[in-house]
């Protein structure tokens, strides 16, 4: 979702310019009713984001684990998404998007006015960035899927050893003290990031930097998988990982183009950028592998696709297609080095590179959005004070990093205290499928 205030004005103007006088009057007179086209697009987008989680992310992550942990990986993703949805309607939506605020926390968190969705009915609407509205239930659902996927992304660093119960406790605390506040900072009408003019079209900060940094901190606190890095742990099914990659790409259009909240031309821009940044990133990862003396790999293609999607998330409606292509390429190359060189050098076990791709890619995307938004690079942003915008972006990024790191630290402490955090050595060795769920993925 982009800078609401600024763009809302512009879109509103152009819309009105395109309408005859009688219609303008009518539009002003009538109470807001959602245009079915916008509602339809937002429902479609919501469904697409769910598809990113199950089966998308479940397959992407699951294929990368060993077969003895396949069900554990998929079930943790599925179950934590369910849990996030329930928390969301109980108090999450209120804390992130409620219309009052907790005194003293203005700009950082909303209040409890919409706990249990108080007051929302089928006729309630939520404003878009122009003067249109969509059904509030649709908006709540759309945003619900964002919360669900973000916590699921964190698991990428923790699979193959994190207890199911620990994950549930972690999710409860983390969503409450990390996700809802950061979501409010970016998307709340008085949110501090929005206020400082940070550009973040579809939630690069809230979703990817947040998840990536939290994944890193949690992985450090949880410790390495037994045998890592000496024992070979090749992906048990790159086929499934590729299926997951495809579904993530497909679903990401709901994520990015849906964040416009309308089926308009800016959504179209977000869509084309989500195509080309991703295509560029997929190819550039493989190219980088070649340049580094290796074969271009299938997992490289997948990794590039995700890196590109992550990087274009904040940029989607904020840059031009050729800015997006360059951004995708840069993100892909840097993530490649991070994942293949920096991580092994540092030796921590971010098992599926949740930080290496979502964290690093998210940061590149956020900063890059500040650059490529400029008209000079084909962006829709006019001639900006480039340096200033980049500074604002960096400030938002930095704040998110610190917030996520501290919050994750607390959430992990609680999770470990209540559940132990990590499965027993024996379960880790036999696999979490049998140990935690009493099943095998393949018979």
């Amino acid at each position: 979702m982009r800078n609401a205030l600024k763009l809302a004005g512009a879109a509103g103007l152009s819309l009105f310019a395109a309408m005859p006088a009688w219609a303008q009057e009518a539009a002003e007179a009538a109470p807001a009713v959602p245009n079915p086209g916008n509602n339809a697009w937002m429902m479609t987008s919501t469904v697409l984001v769910l598809m990113m989680i199950v089966p998308g992310l479940a397959l992407f992550y699951g294929g990368l684990t060993r077969s003895k942990n396949m069900l554990s990986t998929m079930t943790q993703i599925g179950a934590v998404a369910c849990f996030a949805m329930l928390i969301w309607v109980i108090y999450g939506y209120s804390l992130a998007f409620g219309d009052n605020t907790i005194a003293g926390a203005e700009g950082y968190i909303a209040g409890f006015s919409k706990v249990f969705l108080a007051g929302v009915t089928s006729d309630s609407t939520a404003a878009t960035f122009s003067d249109e509205v969509i059904s509030e239930y649709v908006f709540i659902s759309f945003q619900m899927t964002f919360a669900a996927i973000t916590i699921a992304l964190v698991l990428g660093a923790l699979v193959e050893r994190f207890k199911f119960s620990a994950m549930m406790v972690f999710a409860l605390v983390w969503l409450t003290i990390v996700y809802f506040p950061v979501a409010h900072m970016v998307w709340g009408t008085d949110g501090v990031f929005l206020d400082m003019g940070a550009l973040d079209f579809a939630g690069g900060t809230v979703v990817h930097i947040n998840a990536g940094v939290s994944a890193l901190v949690a992985a450090l606190m949880l410790g390495k998988r037994k045998g890592y890095p000496n024992e070979p742990m090749p992906p048990h099914s790159l086929t499934l990982t590729m299926v997951g990659t495809g579904l993530l790409w497909v679903g990401w259009f709901g994520f990015n183009a849906g964040s416009e909240l309308e089926a308009d031309g800016t959504a179209g821009l977000a869509m084309i950028n989500t195509f080309v940044a991703t295509a560029s990133a997929g190819l550039f990862w493989m190219l980088t592998e070649r340049v580094m003396g290796h074969k271009g790999s299938a997992l490289g293609w997948c990794s590039g696709i995700i890196a590109g999607l992550v990087a274009v998330t904040p940029a989607a409606g904020n840059v031009g297609p050729f800015g997006a292509i360059v951004l995708g390429a840069i993100a892909s190359i840097i993530c490649y080095f991070f994942v293949s060189k920096v991580k092994p050098a540092l030796g921590y076990d971010d098992s599926l590179d949740a930080f290496g791709i979502h964290g690093v890619g998210g940061i590149i995307g956020a900063i890059g959005t500040g650059v490529f938004h400029d008209a000079m690079f084909g962006g829709p942003g006019g001639d900006l004070a480039l340096g200033a915008q980049v500074g604002v972006q960096a400030l938002a990024v930095g704040t998110t990093i610190v917030w996520a790191a501290v919050g994750t630290f607390i959430a992990m402490i609680v999770a470990k205290a209540l559940t132990g955090g990590r499965v027993s050595e024996e379960v880790e060795h036999e696999g979490l499928d049998i140990g935690e769920h009493g099943e095998r993925a393949y018979n």
Binding site: P232, M233, P234, L299, S303, S340, K341, P344
Partner: protein, 112 residues
């Protein structure tokens, strides 16, 4: 009676089976195995993590046959499975004390 155990390259299976049929072998049992030896395995890389498996996919044949067929069978395997490249595999011959055909209860050479 002898049990011939042969480790061969997977893509040679059809040739070997035909060669064995040619010398009068009527049955065998086939297992997918992995072999460790002079032949080096492929290197796989996943996001920078390199795995050189050292394990190469092979096919193991087990052929029970009368002693007088052994020489011919070994020869047949040897020529059909040979590519001249490292990793062509091995043949081992062991003694069988007793053999039974489950369906009929026939024993020893008639059971094969």
């Amino acid at each position: 009676m002898k049990l011939i155990i042969a480790i061969i390259k997977p893509f040679k299976l059809d040739d070997v089976r035909e060669a064995l049929t040619g010398v009068g072998v009527t049955g065998m049992t086939v297992t997918e195995v992995k072999g460790f030896g002079r032949q080096k395995g492929q290197t796989e890389i996943y996001r920078g993590a390199e795995y050189s498996t050292n394990m190469v996919p092979k096919i193991k044949l087990e052929i029970a046959c009368p002693a007088d067929l052994v020489a011919g069978a070994v020869e047949a395997i040897k020529s059909a499975a040979n590519t001249g490249a490292i990793g062509d595999g091995k043949i081992f011959v062991l003694d069988i004390g007793q053999a039974v055909r489950i369906r009929t209860g026939e024993t020893d050479e008639t059971a094969l």
